[in-house]
């Protein structure tokens, strides 16, 4: 009885969370006339890949994905490289200062990015970075810095203080300690922070739409927005669905890959417990 209920609950949760994505995927594979047909056609018949191929033919969709991957990867890297030393310092700061700094970061993180759009745009234009990846990479890294610092700080604080001190006595400088001790010892948390930042960067739309106007420079979110029908009055549901699925798939794969890597227990044997 209990097991049955449990199974039922799992099915319900799965339906709730997977159904929209599944609907999207099914729509992407349906011929046009079945998409809007009433009564609803649930399963595509026949399965068609015309939307996917159309997407690739009419738009540089591969380029979008590549741009997104590059921008997100660099932004994530930059974000972690900046966040890790900050987190390392904060994790050993007196509690009073640490809490203030973390709260301050939280405040900054809660700031709606749309308020920053205009000043950022002015800055980007001044630097001549319109359509340049840097226009996204740097703001992305900065916007997600609070999140990364929060995740890394709590992980670093859990590391035994003596390991850092051993590193100091072995002659490692502060940044070397972060790179050679903190980062590998808190690897699961670094991976978690990196993954989160990467996902947020990948999904970011507002800045991408504003700073990128040339088709070849667009990231996938901005690219999808530019998918249009043959006339003003036609919404290309099939292609849009295909685009969303294609944009989400890499993220899903990434999460699955990292899920296996995010293993705890890496600090086993560091100090006698």
């Amino acid at each position: 009885m209990r097991r049955a209920l449990f199974a039922l609950a799992i099915v319900a949760v799965l339906l709730w969370s997977v159904a929209p994505a599944l609907w999207q995927a099914l729509t992407a594979l349906k011929p046009d006339e079945q998409i809007t047909k009433i009564p609803t056609v649930y399963l595509p018949n026949p399965v068609t890949f015309e939307h996917v191929t159309a997407l690739w033919e009419r738009k540089p969709f591969g380029r979008y994905l590549l741009n997104s991957a590059l921008v997100s990867a660099w932004a994530t890297l930059l974000c972690l490289v900046c966040a890790a030393p900050a987190a390392a310092v904060l994790s050993r700061a007196p509690a009073r200062w640490r809490n203030r700094a973390l709260l301050g970061l939280l405040w900054v993180g809660l700031f709606p990015p749309i308020l920053l759009l205009f000043p950022l745009y002015e800055g980007v234009r001044f630097l001549g970075w319109i359509n340049q990846p840097a226009a996204l990479i740097i703001p992305y890294a900065a916007l997600h810095l609070p999140l990364a610092v929060w995740v890394l700080e709590s992980a670093f604080r859990a590391l035994p203080r003596e390991i850092e001190e051993a590193g100091r006595l072995d002659g490692l400088r502060a940044l070397d300690r972060v790179r050679r001790l903190h980062a590998p010892l808190a690897a699961p948390s670094v991976a978690t922070a990196g993954l989160l930042v990467f996902i947020f960067c990948w999904n970011e739309f507002l800045l991408a739409l504003t700073f990128l106007t040339r088709d070849g420079a667009k990231t996938v979110t901005a690219g999808i927005a530019s998918v249009a029908g043959s006339s003003l009055y036609e919404i290309p549901w099939g292609q849009l669905s295909a685009a969303t699925v294609c944009a989400t798939l890499p993220l899903a794969i990434l999460v699955l890959v990292f899920q296996r890597r995010i293993v705890s227990g890496l600090t086993r044997g560091a100090v006698k417990g």
């Binding site: 003596e162 051993a166 590193g167 006595l169 044997g269 006698k272």
Partner: protein
Amino acid sequence: MSDLRGRELVKEFPGGVRALDGVSFEAPGRKILTLLGPSGCGKTTLLRVIAGLESPTSGSLDLDGLDLLGVPAGRRDVGFVFQNYALYPHLTVAGNLGLALEVRGMARGERERKIRETASILGLEALLARKPGQLSGGQQQRVALGRALVRQPRLYLLDEPLSNLDAVLRESMRFELKTLLRRVDATAIYVTHDQAEAMSLSDHLAVMRGGRILQYGTPSDVYRRPEQVFVATFVGSPGMTLWRVTRDGDGCRSGAARLPLAPPSTPAEDFLAGIRPEDVEVFASAAPGSFQATVEGAELMGARTLFTLRSGDALTRVLAAPDACAGRVWVRWPPGRVHWFDPATERRIDGAIGTEAR
């Protein structure tokens, strides 16, 4: 080799805790100095100040006349062994040993030679490719030692390095450690709260309490002539019997019990009289200068037994042969073996009559 000298070191932590309250000491080269004291006495803080992990609030510290306080921890050339080892869990044993050498820019071949050399001293050759998590406690302890050893530092600092080992291993490691430190001719500062460890390991002993060094000397000096009540009770196991006595004619009295023992010739009326359990003499019948006691308890300590004897409301602890005491006995505190202290200052009272020459 290296003489370490500290002058009036004070360390005050935020919040007003004074962990070091004016500590001066001298650690002669090629000797093992032990800082002994209960937890919270400042011994670890002192060690960390010497290592450069903490900076003192005031005072000076120099090694061979060179001021150490301006030198960052990484360049003080000290090998530190942490109480919990603090090995790098993501590196192999070889990596743990080699990191400091690598940071110094030592060439790869030279580095590997050094690592192997150190590993062979400690019997770790077979474990070089393992990670700390795959080692036993004793092996981890050796790696921690090796990490200090491999750098051939001017100064070894050991923070209760044996306290995480089980009793049997601790005793064998104690001897091994002493032999090893002798062999590498190390100047070492060793922190422990275990007086037995301190007695067996050190050339010099500094007993600490409340951020101060109470007494400094060789282990046998400290044992034989404790300068303060605290030192007398902290050093030596089983602990010293200590009676609070008042002068009573040519002897003294502790409550109902009379101690036929002349106190030192000072104007004072109150004293603390102490005697180590192994110094007490027990007789089956009345002997000169003895008093009567009943056996209250007996604890077998191995070759000898620790008896607790009651005279009135005062207790004497005696270390004697297992069959030495039964029922009623006569106890004598040999005058030359009695330590007298001033109960107000807790300091040793010396040059007193009534203490015969040894």
